[in-house]
Symmetry: C2
Subunit: 363 residues, 2 copies
């Protein structure tokens, strides 16, 4: 008897991990099944490690709770946030793949204007596998997309582009607003589908959201640290922002590209603006000093690896932001710990064990 | 008897001129009638001044041919290109209005995805009247648009934005490609409607196309010089690019914003790629040196007006680009002449006369 017709193998099936931070059962994966089923998932369980997180049948996953993180990292586990989705970056560290896609568990499959389900992961992979254009702006957006190209006046020497390190996707329905904007515009929904991917130019910072984000771990992984947030920290909801600022400065220094735009996911539920305000309010002050710091940060020429760049940046954070609040001294130390832990796990060929191993019914 | 119901007065009716460079009858205006009829047109006739250009009935216009330009500017007329659409910048100089919209005569009304005619001018005016965001990137595009806002992580101190000096619109159908791209992709058409307006970040250059362009003459007019192109010059089709590079460097210095994206026009006809190649080929070489020059150009603090910035830039052009080709010495001198002519016409309250005066049947 012949095999039933096999499913087509999706792009980068064995080179990409999907990282999901969560505190609840992962029913949201049902909707993503057609797109995620053949990939490996890394689930980072936040909060109470004794809680059992249910993962729908048929997904291939490993799951880490706080006990696993403490066991694997030992004293260095203090660089991984607790009771905050910043814990997701632990998943980036334990992955052995070249690419990471991370998504929040309140994000569903969006539809394009024709009504078709958007395969967000496939679009992220396209973004990552095609070059970026950080050195000059192309007015017709992504020049590598079918039906598009570089416009008149675009220097030919720049048309090879730069390697893409990050693909930042967007959100339909609930936009990623801060607490003050949520409070002022409780009913605002994002209904506009902008059919574009663009490179954020060199020298320009952007607010990187971790909800729907993909990156090349080999190119930029060690800079994707989501900082110290949540339990015991004076701040929350700046984990992805912090990573975005560091990543962009390092990508600019190393000549790597950061894209934003497509794909959209459907963000189902606004988080509580009052809770958010409490988490954010220090960040709202601090970012007024943090952003000029990152805008003017420069890295010396001998910073030729992401790790070297990141350690250098941690020194500058301590030196320049330490005066803003002692928190930044602690954060700068955690940045160093993160790199040490990253190198330990990633120069070490022995596999890490997780509390639950792949059950992979689809395999 | 009551008046027939009057047409609604369009935005900035008495504060905006539409500048059209042409060598032919302006039949294309018929299609634009609903949107342009109530505005004043400045037509700059290129080529043979004895040719009669027909303008459809009912438009309010003034028309300048080469004889007019020579008469009005005297010896300074040599800064205005001949046999090249670069001559359009003469229209910017003689306008007395705060805003300019310039459009090519092979550009027609495009349709949005719902099939509705796009009022390009209205969108440009919206772009110019709302602030720009050159200092930080907003991932949901124009934050001032209805239904949009600044996303989480956007510094509050930057949410007032910067005044918008330029609105750069795009093209459906024939994209604005250089000759090599036209030759390689003769059948490529732009069919993608990207529903976005975005600010080009500070420090980033872009290829500014003059086909569908609006600007605030008071904020940036004296920098909108389209250079020396066409008759007697070694280069063509770089008029708008030159203006764009100068404008962007000066906008960045003065804290002004440049937007690109909506509105689209329908670009009807590709120009001849062989002719274009002849015009462009020196520019294709030269831009490899011009762009790094503009990318690293800085203006001193005492350059507090557009004129001062532009004169300073002309000095740097002579100093740094003179070595690329003697053409740049000539261009640098023409930049100075342009500013002298601009100031003469614009500090002088007496109105300039044109060879044909407004016939304004719509008035």
């Amino acid at each position: 008897m012949a095999d039933p017709s096999p499913k087509p193998v999706p792009l980068l099936k064995d080179e990409l991990d999907i990282v999901i931070p969560t505190i609840r059962n992962l029913d949201f994966l049902e909707m993503w099944r057609p797109f995620f089923e053949q990939y490996h998932l890394i689930i980072v369980q936040d909060g109470d490690p004794n809680k059992i997180i249910k993962v729908p049948e048929g997904f291939d996953y490993e799951l880490y709770n706080r006990n696993d993180i403490n066991r694997i990292l030992g004293p260095k586990a203090n660089c991984i946030s607790f009771k905050d989705s910043a814990c997701r970056c632990f998943g980036y560290m334990v992955s052995k793949k070249k690419y990471i896609y991370t998504i929040d568990d309140d994000c569903f499959v969006a539809k394009d204007p024709s009504g078709k389900d958007i395969n967000a992961l496939e679009q992220h992979i396209k973004n990552l596998l095609s070059p970026a254009t950080p050195f000059f702006f192309n007015t017709l957006y992504d020049p590598y997309r079918e039906g598009a190209d570089f416009v008149r006046g675009y220097p030919f020497s720049l048309r090879e582009g730069a390697p893409t390190a990050v693909s930042h996707g967007l959100w339909l329905n609930i936009p990623d607003y801060d607490a003050p904007t949520q409070l002022v515009k409780p009913r605002e929904r994002n209904t506009r589908y902008v059919d574009a991917v663009l490179t954020i130019p060199k020298g320009t910072l952007f607010p990187m959201c971790g909800m729907n984000l993909a990156f090349d771990r080999e190119l930029i992984g060690p800079a994707m640290y989501f900082g110290l947030m949540g339990d015991g920290q004076p701040i929350g909801r700046y984990d992805d922002m912090w990573a975005g600022w560091c990543v962009k400065v390092i990508c600019d220094h190393l000549g790597l590209g950061v894209k934003t735009g497509l794909p959209y996911i459907w963000h189902s539920k606004a988080s509580n603006p009052f809770v958010n305000l409490k988490k954010e309010y220090k960040g709202i002050f601090w970012q007024e000093e943090i952003i000029p710091f990152f805008q003017s940060a420069t890295l010396p020429k001998d910073c030729t690896s992401v790790q070297k760049c990141y350690i250098e940046l941690s020194k500058q954070v301590k030196e320049k932001l330490g005066a803003v609040d002692p928190y930044f001294n602690k954060l700068a130390d955690a940045m160093v710990t993160w790199i040490e832990a990253w190198d330990e796990l990633n120069n070490n060929t022995s596999e890490q064990t997780s509390s639950k191993q792949a059950n992979g019914a689809a395999k």
